[in-house]
Amino acid sequence: MRHERTARRLSEYLDGTLSGRDGGRVEAHLASCLECRNDLAELRRTSELLRGLRAGVESPDLAASILERIRAGEAEPTLVERLRASAGRFFSGAWGAPLATAAVGLAVLVLVPRIEIEVSIPGGSEREIARPIARAEAPRRAPVAALAARRVNESPLRETAAAARRLSGSSLCWEQPSFEACQEQREFFMDLALRDTRAFVERVEAVPSTQRERWIGELSRFAAESGSATSVAERLRATDDPRAWQMATHFDVASFDGR
């Protein structure tokens, strides 16, 4: 086996995961290459040192405080999760999970009015604040093609692309003491949350950590005012990303505060 190829596989050789044939080739090369033998010895020593870290870690006992926090309601599944769980029990069998999700989706569609509230925020134009969100939500929420078709001419995608262009050149409003100048950013983020949740999560994560909590608090209040906090929270929870799960709790809290 050639030198470079062996050098790349030394860790696998060390870990004993090469097949007999590949292992034999590595051994044959090792027999004739001092450099690779030295590399192997140093990698082995590195691995052994790391293994030494395994011993002697004393963990604090976390169970008591975690149970306390659970009792205080910090790990409660939200309303939507409970709905989905009970719908899941109802629709058992192979199609249970998708049916349950669809049922909850329909319930949300029926129960949550898609209102276009006129919100008054200082420095902002009221109509434009609430409407893009209500519009953005409808096509995603509705499993019914007709509803989507009716809304297709009002697609928020074009506006969002324009907003993204505007935002890229604008100042970072969340660094200001108040969010008065953040109207465009709010709309852009909320639209993204409903349209492309992963991108939303990455965008929020890109906000400096010192500002992130404040900014997501602002976004969740804004979403609650326009009635979309619950569906944003649900989308965030539907991802596999624990960062998104943590964001979801902000929107849950805001949706309850808003009632």
């Binding site: 004993g16 020593r45 870690v57 994560e205 624990p242 799960w245």
Partner: protein
């Protein structure tokens, strides 16, 4: 690709993920009882896994305080999202995935607070009751220094390299399990572990070889 060369040293290695489905998950009973509504079963799961979760988070984050906070986050998320566990992997794999994510989350939020590795906390050494910390204080001190040094060099690695090498060398997971935890291909795990060890070897130069501090 059937025969496998003998490992060069003994290492208790957990079962590869591909076989995990057929193997009885040691946590299965507790997980079932927890899902059946027994709070005690959840507490038992926390107690059973807290040392490993905390140990992993300590290596990932570098301070006991951050590791404890992240471990709490991880177990709360486990409780909140446990219904997502589908038994396609072992429960411990699922938990490791949540723990790694908790660590990455926390590192993002503390990234700016800890701008320099110098700020690395001595807490690394504090609270370790390693085999050295017995009768011989000099050896105990040397052991603590070594751990602190290793911890600092681990922290200097990028997250993408640190997580796999910690899971393999420190936590003793298999390549397959690590691929499951990190949700990357097994080949990626292999190459990242190798790159991580090479980087560490270079940084630990004086400790690992006769070739001294040569890069």
């Amino acid at each position: 690709m059937t025969a496998v060369t003998q490992p060069l040293f003994d290492r208790p290695r957990s079962i590869p993920a591909s076989d995990a489905a057929e193997v009885v998950d040691p946590d299965r009973d507790l997980v079932d009882r927890w899902r059946g509504g027994e709070a005690d079963a959840f507490a038992a799961l926390v107690r059973r896994h807290q040392r490993r979760v905390f140990g992993l988070l300590l290596r990932m984050l570098g301070s006991r305080e951050e590791a404890e906070d992240a471990a709490q986050d991880a177990f709360l998320n486990l409780h909140r999202h446990g219904h997502r566990f589908r038994r396609e992997s072992r429960f411990s794999t699922f938990l490791y995935r949540i723990a790694v994510n908790a660590a990455l989350n926390r590192r993002r939020s503390i990234g700016r607070r800890r701008a320099h590795a110098d700020a690395f906390s001595d807490a690394y050494a504090v609270g370790h009751a390693g085999p050295e910390s017995g009768s011989d204080p000099e050896r105990a001190l040397a052991g603590d220094r070594l751990r602190t040094r290793l911890g600092r060099e681990l922290l200097a690695l990028p997250d993408s390299l640190r997580a796999p090498v910690v899971l393999y060398d420190v936590e003793g997971l298999s390549y397959g399990e690590i691929a499951d935890v990190l949700e990357v291909a097994e080949g990626t795990v292999k190459s990242r572990i190798h790159r991580a060890r090479q980087a560490l070897r270079a940084r630990l130069g004086d400790l690992v070889g006769e070739r001294g501090t040569q890069p």
